[in-house]
């Protein structure tokens, strides 16, 4: 029955997201099936986790579960009828050459390996004591995060201020399984890896005009050592990889919108961007960067500024979460001092070590191989061959988070702030890793095709 419940949970997550996708596409649209399925998972987990959070303020127990399930099914049905009415249709791009078939086979194998690795590990420290613990406590409280948890000073180390995308997704599966289950819940995280690989392959294929480049980028993503060998990787249940995949989805769809001016791409990009602050606290920074990129793209496309309204949901989520934290008297955790010029000046002696540590991390072959030097090479190549808004968006979307994350350690309030940076910097870089591979894929585009796209 546990497995049946788990599958029911997965089905409702997927159905809600797929319905939302179908509601976004226009009449007569051609929907690329792999990309739609990948985005369905992201939207489904977002919708259901938000519904559990908001619904949990009013109802609990089986009523909450059935209510959310009913909305998920309603979304799926609404999407289906919209799809039928609009006479849109699906297509699934098939590999055309033996090279593409080989790359697809390798990707499938790699995805299988990721599931094997994830199921062979325990949840990591944060995976258990930061994320899963919230799902467990909510399950024990009839499906609702207990209000007393937020003001419980004795549980401050479990980071109650962190938003609830992953914990409430885990809770959803627990509700269907009928119990918290530390083994089956690990299936969530390699699913995000698969989503990331699919989105990277589809985005890179469409942006370069070469399917083999997209597939190769997805193959190479697997070999980033940090994805499997460090705290924060796919195998230990941290949120950093899912957040990186969500960020890739948002920025990648923006780039597609820049290329094709497809309104559905804009709407889907906006929905992905809206979920960023719901994933992790750092998601608020990624949201801000993505919104700035979106404004730039909208300006370039000479579209109506009413499109900016689609960017408001992320702001609503941030404001609502902040208001919720105040209402439950959340005990603040002091990992960072208040940002001020005085504090920055006082922390300037940290500069040498912070730069040294960042450089060390970026050049750490055991964590990243030569990924970051490749990214630098890719940016140089793109700057020489095709200076356009896509390059600017990618540079900004990758560079700003890295710079800001590094800069936050000037304000670290840990007694051993260097240890704070040691513990966190690798995981923070995972947030931009899938997007970095999209940039590298764009640079792999052959020069002759590059010239045609640039001049077109």
């Amino acid at each position: 029955m546990t497995i049946v419940g788990l599958l029911a949970g997965f089905f409702t997550l997927f159905a809600a997201g797929f319905g939302l996708i179908l509601l976004q596409v226009g009449a007569g649209a051609r929907i690329q099936l792999p990309q739609a399925c990948a985005l369905s998972w992201l939207f489904g987990t977002g919708v259901i986790s938000l519904l559990l959070w908001l619904g949990g303020m009013f109802i609990s127990g089986p009523v909450l579960q059935l209510g959310v399930a009913a909305i998920a099914i309603a979304l799926a049905l609404a999407g289906y009828f919209a799809f039928k009415r609009g006479q849109a249709h699906f297509f699934c791009p098939r590999p055309r050459t033996w090279v593409e078939w080989l790359l697809v086979a390798v990707i499938v194998l790699q995805c299988g390996v990721m599931f094997h690795v994830a199921l062979g590990y325990t949840l990591g420290w944060d995976g258990l004591f930061n994320w899963e613990i919230k799902a467990r406590y909510a399950f024990l409280n009839a499906g609702v995060m207990p209000a007393s948890y937020y003001s419980d000073e004795t549980r401050l180390m479990t980071n109650p201020a962190y938003p609830l995308w992953i914990p409430l997704t885990e809770l959803w599966l627990y509700l269907w399984m009928g119990e918290p289950h530390q083994f089956w819940i690990k299936l969530l995280f390699p699913i995000y890896y698969v989503i990331g690989a699919v989105l990277l392959a589809t985005f890179a294929s469409r942006l370069t005009g070469r399917r083999w480049i997209g597939l190769l980028a997805a193959v190479l993503l697997f070999f980033v050592p940090c994805l499997t060998n460090t705290p924060g990787g796919v195998q230990v249940g941290y949120v950093d990889v899912p957040l990186g995949v969500l960020y890739l989805a948002g920025i990648g769809l923006l780039l597609l919108y820049l290329q094709n001016a497809d309104p559905a791409a804009w709407r889907c990009a906006a929905l992905c961007i809206a979920l960023l602050p719901w994933a992790k606290k750092e998601g608020s920074l990624l949201w801000l960067v993505a919104v700035i990129c979106a404004v730039g793209v909208l300006w370039r496309q000479r579209r109506s500024w009413s499109g900016l309204l689609w960017l408001l949901p992320g702001l609503f989520i941030m404001v609502a979460w902040k208001a919720f934290c105040i209402s439950v008297e959340l005990t603040p955790k002091h990992d960072f001092a208040t940002v001020s010029f005085t504090r920055l000046v006082a922390s300037l002696p940290r500069l040498d070590w912070i730069v040294f540590r960042l450089r060390g991390e970026l050049l750490d072959l055991s964590h990243w191989s030569i990924m970051w030097p490749l990214l630098l090479l890719a940016f140089v190549s793109l700057a020489i061959r095709a200076r356009d808004l896509r390059l600017l968006v990618l540079f900004f979307a990758i560079g700003i988070p890295v710079a800001v994350y590094t800069g936050t350690f000037f304000f670290s309030d840990w007694p051993d702030w260097a240890a704070h940076m040691d513990a966190a910097i690798g995981r923070l870089l995972l947030h931009v890793t899938p997007l970095a591979w999209l940039a590298i894929a764009l640079a792999m585009r052959p020069p002759s095709v590059q010239a045609k796209i640039s001049s077109g």
Partner: protein, 159 residues
Amino acid sequence: MERRALLSLIAHSATCAIAAAAFVFVAARHVVLSGEFGPVVPFHTTNRLLASTIHSRAGSERLLEVFQSLPEKEPIAVMYHDEGVDTFTAFAVLYFAWPRKVQAFPIKHGNLASQMQALAAAPVSAAFFCGVEPPPGTEPLFRIGKGLSLSTRTTPQPR
């Protein structure tokens, strides 16, 4: 012009191929692909980690049994060395203690005596000692696993 474009294409392709090969070659030895599958149990993570810290195969179930005999509305205390496996054991106690509040008494920099005094005065229903030897004469004292013991201040409720 055509020759230049062709040379440019060859150079670009060669650079991409070498870069990709170098990336995979360097990465391959660092990618972790191993893991021990199973057992497929609800407390897969906490059992495996408690097995290595307190040498108890069903450590999670054991802790849950213990908590079922403690009052839900009264806080508990956890005393532990603030480093290594003892910290994990302490966090596991916190994990299973819900909805009870947990007062932590970490031992570091030679503060054992002061922490023991503070613990003695703490209004808790039970105290867990993780890697710390309870004070002499502490009763009743229950051994849950290697390096984890429990002293209750209320009579455990039978289930």
